[in-house]
């Protein structure tokens, strides 16, 4: 029986395993050094905040794996010997495979800051990071977070939930403005401050200072300030977790290089999820996509290939979502922070300052290109359809109600949005 070995029990590895099981009778083993069972990394914050216990973040009950004949191994793969098709574990164990799927995810970026490995300094990616934060929480009077992205703001929310004052160092001049246009980004700046988070825009970390026990006691910034703190969170992005492949024959760049079929340069070796890097970006996507659902989709795809139906990875229209403290965010299609030369944008913000939408469309054809919605939920299915049908912006604005996904009885804003749109396009004309 063919032995499929998957390194990494995150969403991509587990999805691949589930689908291979559905399609075949092959022997499947999933390896991870992090946890025995699959859990949802996206829910790490809720454990620390007391919304859930760790067990609640496990999407499948523990009996699931045995019942589906998916073997689980807890161990760290140190080396991949592609000639003999063999894995070498940190504890000296070995395992041979017929086909190998690398799904090892990411690790937090560290940019060589002085003091970045001190006690009390941590990223927020693995379960062990959460444990470290938990350990350092008692007695913490202030925490400093470095890096204003999605994980940074989650970490800020976590700490605030435990009444720990937070200073949030953000390199950009406005929160996440590489992705969010000014209106949205400023809305989130305000919201962050409303939660009493000390947001420092346009500020870089210079150094983390240690106390006599080798624990972080303060940071210094490029504004010449020294901020006392006991915990430092490094959340300046993530990069593929592939150091263990250094000496292998598998071709890597920032991530494991794969073609559109998720195959590496070595036959029978595949890479999916956060750690995979496309030779060439697909459409407007980035070559490395570190989001939940792309990992899942790559898992679905590679399972087809491994079970004899060689399939290309063809993600559909881009979408994503996040939550900034109390404000939910969704996006469908592409809306750029700094409009592309073909792009025109329409922005509406609710007077309460916690809801807004931005619609991007082609300046010549009026084709609808994408939407950012904050504080209003929208239907994925509807936008996916409109993008495929290449609807124009007027159609979208006039049919927004069809796409609304807010719970029943919520205040509706379509009429106001339409009016705003009409008045804007009139003055522009």
């Amino acid at each position: 029986m063919e032995h499929i070995v998957i390194i990494g029990n995150g969403i991509s590895g587990v999805t691949a395993a589930r689908h291979i099981r559905k399609l075949s009778d092959k022997k499947i083993t999933i390896i991870s050094a992090e946890t025995d069972y699959f859990f949802s990394r996206t829910a790490l914050m809720y454990i620390y905040m007391g919304h859930m216990k760790f067990e609640h973040t496990q999407p499948y009950e523990n009996w699931f794996w045995k019942k589906n004949r998916i073997e689980l191994k807890n161990g760290f793969v140190q080396q991949v010997d592609t000639t003999n098709k063999e894995l070498h574990f940190a504890d000296g164990d070995k395992m041979s495979y017929d086909k190998l799927i690398i799904a090892t995810g990411s690790k937090p970026n560290k940019f060589g800051w002085p003091g970045q490995d001190l006690d009390g300094v941590m990223g927020m990616y693995h379960k062990q990071d959460l444990e470290s934060l938990e350990k350092h929480t008692p007695g913490t009077k202030r925490a400093v977070i470095v890096g204003g992205g999605l994980i940074g703001i989650e970490l800020a929310e976590m700490l605030v939930s435990r009444n720990i004052p937070v200073t949030f160092l953000v390199r950009e001049t406005s929160f996440w403005n590489g992705v969010l246009p000014a209106g949205e980004s400023e809305m989130i700046n305000r919201h962050i401050r409303e939660h009493h988070i000390d947001l420092r825009l346009d500020t870089n970390l210079v150094e983390i200072l240690a106390d006599e026990n080798g624990r972080a006691r303060a940071v210094t910034t490029d504004k010449g300030e020294t901020i006392e703190c006991q915990v430092v969170g490094l959340t300046a992005g993530v990069s593929p977790n592939i150091d263990f492949l250094k000496d292998s024959a598998i071709e890597t760049n920032r991530g494991v290089l794969v073609n559109r079929h998720l195959e590496t340069n070595i036959s029978d070796v595949y890479a999916i999820g956060d750690c995979a890097q496309q030779h060439e970006a697909i459409g407007l996507r980035r070559p490395i996509e570190a989001v939940w659902y792309t990992g899942r989709m790559m898992g679905e795809t590679v399972a087809q290939t491994i079970c004899g139906n060689r399939t290309e990875y063809k993600p559909g229209h881009w979408f994503n979502s996040a939550k900034f403290l109390d404000i939910e965010y969704q996006t469908y299609g592409w809306v750029f922070a700094r409009p592309q030369e073909y792009e025109k944008q329409f922005y509406w913000e609710h007077e309460g300052g916690k809801k807004c939408i931005r619609i991007s469309y082609h300046k010549d054809t009026n084709e609808f290109l994408g939407i950012n919605n904050f504080g209003i939920r929208m239907r994925h299915e509807v936008f996916d359809k409109w993008l495929t049908e290449k609807r124009d912006v007027d159609y979208v604005i006039n049919h927004l109600a069809e796409a609304n996904f807010d719970p029943e009885f919520f205040a509706r804003h379509e009429a106001e949005i339409l009016q705003h749109f009409n008045s804007q396009t009139l003055t522009n004309a």
Binding site: S40, T42, M52, H380, P407
Partner: protein
């Protein structure tokens, strides 16, 4: 190393537990209110009962509301689940167990030893019950009973904790309006109207005590002999009430459930649901989400349903006559009528909805078969008063004791802090069972999943009081169409990615099992989802 997180979370309590001054005062106030009642229970005699009752109930209400204000007043609108699993009361800790034991004790006294509360059969009440006499006289003109005391406290609880709930979910209009509805139905329909109806009673005219929003089989006693007599003797009003009672089951309920799902009742109207949603809200996360629990649930709740159908049939059968010339409905016609009705119902489900049933159909069929066999057996083996080997009366009192008192009261509410807030609704309530079958098979209601947006975080499953593993559906892009869903809307509220929406829509595409989700290659989606 592996268990660090869990350990530190259970040993020390990292949640900010310091109460604000406001909350300390509120706690003091609430405890004082309860203390007055407790003192009364130990037979401290209060001179001005009306005054002390007012003080006590106001203190409890204001205390609860002030506490909630302290909790949520100064926070931004949004989800308020910080520290839920760190707090002893909401995580089956020491306080949770204490609360569970106290509540259970209260129910045992209430149901089985009301004399300890001061109930005196022929004579003036004493103790707590006496304190409630003035209010009872004001409403119905009669002295209080233990049920009046219970009803009052129940209403106060729904009211005060209802306000807390509204505060907590003030950003969510569905929750606010729904809670207002529950508070209204409890105060008006369950509490005030029946008491006022009792005022209409004279020596020659008596209406049975009737909470109009309680539908059989929740009020399993509705068709018992003494009540039917009272209905019939009360002339047109009585008859109207009786007809309303029957129409509630066969007409009103199916129509509303078709249009809106069982939520119209379970989380908008019902008193049991009302208490669970308000006072029980702090415990919703304790429901068991395992597949095993779901299996137990299906068996237990449908068994209770069969039990009450058999019991009610037997009870009605027992007081009907044999003689068609006296009254058209005789023992024989009634039994045949019930059998035919159930057979037709079963046949229709089997013919039109069999594909949707899968496993459950087998269970349903077996349960149904048991009933039918029971009828047949009963018809031929019984003398006047027996169904199988039991007397109708014994069946009735067994049901009343096991299900009516122990299950719905002692376990259902007493165990809130241990098993979660909807144990009764999920495992025991025969009304929920009927509405559930309707919801699963004949309803426009579903929870729609938003394409591929789910990140499998688990908030929805954790906070589903009915123990539905919502995530299991959401992460497959599949709509949630479950018999037990009471439509509380909390899964949708707590979802951080806007994945869930409670909706009434067309039947087509309502149930949509997916293997590959929206967002992936369209051809692949077609290929895999087709089969």
């Amino acid at each position: 190393m592996k268990h660090n997180v869990e350990q530190s979370m259970s040993l020390t309590s990292p949640a900010p537990t310091n109460l604000s001054l406001m909350q300390k005062f509120a706690t003091f106030l609430g405890v004082t209110g309860l203390g007055i009642l407790l003192l009364a229970a130990f037979n401290i005699n209060f001179p001005h009962k009306a005054l002390w009752l007012t003080i006590s109930l106001s203190a409890i209400t204001i205390g609860t509301i002030a506490f909630s204000y302290g909790l949520y007043g100064n926070t931004a609108e949004g989800i308020k689940n910080n520290g839920v699993f760190f707090k002893s009361i909401s995580n089956r800790g020491f306080l949770g167990w204490i609360a569970g034991i106290l509540l259970t004790g209260f129910y045992v006294v209430l149901y089985f030893y009301p004399e300890y509360l001061g109930l005196v059969k022929d004579g003036d009440n004493t103790g707590v019950i006496a304190v409630f006499d003035p209010l009872s006289r004001l409403l119905s003109g009669n002295p209080a009973s233990q049920w009046f005391v219970y009803g009052t406290l129940y209403t106060v609880a729904i009211f005060a904790f209802g306000i807390k709930f509204m505060w907590k979910y003030r950003h969510n209009r569905y929750e606010v309006i729904r809670t207002g509805s529950v508070m209204f139905f409890q105060t008006a329909f369950a509490f005030i109207i029946p008491e006022l109806m009792a005022r209409l009673n004279t020596d020659t005219f008596k209406l049975p005590y009737y909470d109009l929003k309680n539908v059989w089989p929740l009020n399993y006693y509705n068709f018992e002999g003494y009540r039917i007599k009272e209905f019939v003797n009360a002339g047109n009003i009585g008859l109207a009430l009786l007809i309303f009672g029957i129409a509630s089951i066969f007409i009103i309920t199916p129509i509303l459930t078709y249009k809106y799902g069982k939520r119209w009742y379970c989380s908008w109207v019902c008193g049991c649901g009302g208490l669970a949603e308000t006072a029980g809200d702090s415990f919703r996360q304790l429901s068991d989400k395992s597949k095993f629990a779901w299996k137990v649930e299906r068996w237990v709740i449908h068994s209770v349903l069969v039990f009450i159908i058999v019991t009610t049939t037997a009870v009605v059968h027992s007081y009907l006559g044999h003689d068609t010339s006296k009254y058209w409905l005789t023992k024989n016609t009634f039994l045949i009528g019930v059998s035919v009705f159930l057979t037709v119902l079963f046949a229709l489900i089997w013919i039109f909805k069999r594909q949707e049933l899968k496993k459950d159909a087998r269970y349903g069929a077996i349960g149904y078969l048991v009933i039918i066999l029971a009828f047949v057996a009963l018809h031929y083996t019984s003398g006047d008063s027996k169904i199988f080997l039991f007397k109708a009366n014994d069946l009735r009192s067994t049901y009343g004791f096991l299900i009516g008192s122990i299950f719905s009261g002692v376990i259902g509410t007493g165990f809130y802090p241990i098993l979660g807030s909807r144990v009764w609704c999920r495992f025991g309530c025969p009304m929920a069972a009927i509405l559930g079958i309707q919801q699963r098979l004949f309803s426009k209601f579903r929870i729609t999943t938003n394409g591929g947006q789910c990140i499998s975080c688990g908030n929805c499953s954790t906070y589903c009081e009915m123990g539905i593993d919502v995530r299991a559906y959401a992460q497959k892009g599949e709509n949630i169409v479950r018999a037990s869903c009471v439509g509380c809307g909390i899964c949708s509220a707590v979802c951080p990615r806007g994945v869930l929406k409670l909706e009434n829509g067309s039947q087509e595409g309502r149930i949509n099992p997916n293997e590959v989700l929206l967002g992936n290659d369209v051809n692949l989606m077609d290929l895999v989802n087709r089969k």
